[in-house]
């Protein structure tokens, strides 16, 4: 194992990463180019393809490992859990859905927040987990982001949020919609305090997340080829009946249209963040 930055223990092995795409023992097949990659190579290449650079979807555990100095992460508000304000039931009760997600992901909800260091620079950080009900934003995600912002204001340290979200959590109805207002208005407060907020958009960031905190970074950064949208491609296609342009709603498309500042590969992410934070605070 070459990854000093990734602390391994039995309990955290890829609990937050989604199932490996086409995994077969120690070999992983790239879903984009078909390349067979050995697990060790895959991990040391920060979960991206050694041939085409495809960024596999990973979770908060992996991102904290990639970005933060080893052992610097201190999680906050870990115990927050969803309740069921609407007593919502579709094909199964929301309560059950949450319980099952907690069990399968070993996470309490779709975001983890805390403090840490990036090459010695203190930051407040949040990272979403798509594996938890599609990274959907309900009350817990909203409250944890809100508290992370409070923490950034209190400590005067920069805020970094890594998004990976299918949008607002339907099973919390208008309550989840209000999390857009909640996170955005808290960010307005952070803005008044002139504390930097860097938003990192990963695949996918759509709906309610994009229409609130994910798009509101002082600096918006995206991973290559990430889907970043308000309405997803399926919805747009259905509504318009038109063919979608090439690369529609991908990072490169958003860069071209002026909605993100730059695209960065996972392997350069930590260095770029360090550079940026030093420029801003220097």
């Amino acid at each position: 194992m070459t990854m000093a930055w990734f602390k391994r223990s039995k309990e955290n092995i890829s609990t937050t990463a989604p199932k490996k795409e086409n995994s077969d023992g120690n070999w992983i097949k790239c879903s984009e180019c078909g390349e067979m990659i050995h697990k060790v190579q895959w991990e040391s290449n920060l979960y991206s393809c050694i041939n085409c650079g495809h960024h596999f979807r990973i979770g908060s555990q992996e991102y904290f490992g990639i970005i933060l100095d080893e052992g610097s992460f201190k999680e906050i508000d870990k115990k927050l859990r969803s309740v069921d304000p609407l007593e919502f039931t579709d094909t199964k009760p929301y309560k059950k859905r949450v319980e099952e997600s907690i069990k399968s992901t070993e996470l309490n909800d779709a975001i983890r927040t805390g403090t840490g260091k990036i090459n010695g620079i203190d930051v407040v950080i949040g990272c979403m987990d798509f594996g938890f009900i599609g990274g959907s934003m309900g009350s817990v995600v909203g409250e944890k982001i809100s508290r992370a912002i409070d923490k950034a204001i209190k400590t005067k340290n920069p805020l970094i949020i890594i998004s990976s979200s299918g949008g607002a959590r339907m099973m919390e109805g208008a309550v989840s919609l209000m999390q857009l207002a909640k996170t955005s208005s808290k960010l307005a407060k952070l803005d008044e305090e002139k504390i930097p907020y860097i938003s990192i958009l990963t695949n996918p960031t759509t709906g309610g997340a994009t229409a609130s905190f994910s798009m509101l970074g002082d600096i918006n950064i995206a991973e290559p080829k990430a889907l970043i949208a308000f309405a997803g491609p399926r919805v747009v296609k259905q509504a318009t009946g038109k063919d979608l342009p090439d690369g529609f709603q991908k990072s490169e498309f958003l860069l071209e249209h002026g909605f993100i500042d730059f695209i960065v590969s996972r392997k350069d992410l930590k260095e770029k963040l360090t550079q940026l934070l030093k420029l801003i605070s220097g």
Binding site: V140, E172, A174, L177, K182, S185, A211
Partner: protein
């Protein structure tokens, strides 16, 4: 007013009303006042029974009623000297959002609303009340104008959603909505938001962050329409009634969940049955609410606005 579009559950009520008005025409020839009175009390108790037991899906239907008053109807009926202002100064003028200065009672206000059309032609012109990014940017521009001249902002929400189009995505629909939420949080003048019809998701909220959030009685507010919710969670369009039930999207639910501050009563049978009366009721409430928010000091206003939304949500720890 003559009702052209009748919902299923309205039918028995409207038929009785028709009968009464026909009988009235004969009343000078025959003495049938007793019969008329009887029918009137019958229709009143029927209306009461139907409207007190509306299902969430029936409320969604009322909120979408094609004869319901829309933003411009309310603006013309409630205000004087309305001057409509156009354009976002960046790209174009979105017809799905209207706005401008007007006198509401004694006061100059900036009033902004989502606008639907009444027929095919006007609906195409208004894009069915589904704004593009430039609509949200126009709304923000007008709010900033209001801030500059120290005038309160009133927003009227009535949209089936922000438009999910190719160009809307290209021009940053998500950014436009997010930016409005961000900027409305620190707008230095009072904001009163009123849901007057459909409050569909981010498209509604994009002009919906206010010091006071009010809702007409027969409206819906949710993160998704019952139809889309049905298609995603049940993988079929057939569960819209059930989805409407599950989503807890009525004004009563919103009040319970502390998402709105107040429900505004509609005329008997719904706002579409009496536009003038609906507008008069809304005007009365707005005048009262404006007097309330104007009393709050500026610094406190912003703090309590952020706090109000900061407290929304339910969790355990």
């Amino acid at each position: 007013m003559a009702v052209q579009n009748i919902l299923g559950f309205e039918k028995p009520i409207i038929e009785l009303e028709k009968k009464i008005s026909e009988m009235r025409k004969m009343a000078d020839k025959f003495d049938i006042s007793n019969e008329i009175n009887k029918l009137e009390s019958k229709v009143n108790s029927l209306r009461k029974e139907v409207f007190e037991n509306l299902t969430p899906w029936q409320i969604v239907q009322l909120a979408r009623h094609p004869e319901r008053p829309y933003s411009l109807d309310y603006i013309y009926l409630m205000t004087e000297n309305f001057i409509e202002l156009h354009g976002d100064r960046r790209y174009s003028d979105d017809k799905a959002i209207v706005g401008g200065f007007a006198k509401l009672g004694e006061e100059t206000v900036m009033i902004i609303g989502q606008q639907k059309g009444r027929d095919t032609k006007s609906n195409i012109y208004r894009n069915f009340g589904m704004p593009n990014p430039e609509g949200y940017r126009k709304a923000l521009r007008l709010m900033k104008l209001a801030e500059k001249f120290n005038k309160p902002v009133i927003t009227l929400i009535d949209t089936p959603g922000a438009y999910p189009g190719i160009e809307a995505e290209e021009r940053g629909q998500a950014e436009a909505i997010a930016r409005n939420l961000f900027e409305m949080s620190k707008l230095q003048v009072p904001i009163i938001a009123v849901i007057i019809g459909e409050g569909a998701s981010g498209g509604a909220l994009g002009i919906g962050l206010g010091d006071r959030v009010l809702m007409l009685q027969y409206c819906w507010y949710s993160v998704i329409s019952p139809e889309s919710c049905s298609s995603i969670l049940w993988r079929s369009w057939d569960f819209k009634e059930q989805a409407a039930e599950s989503l807890k999207l009525t004004s009563q639910d919103m009040l319970k969940l502390k998402i709105i501050d107040r429900i505004i009563e509609e005329p008997e049978g719904g706002a579409h049955r009496d536009h003038e009366k609906a507008a008069a009721i809304l005007k009365g409430v707005l005048v009262e609410e404006l007097a309330g928010v104007k009393k709050i000091k500026k610094e406190k206003l912003l703090d309590s606005r952020i706090k109000k939304f900061g407290e929304m949500g339910f969790w355990k720890e």
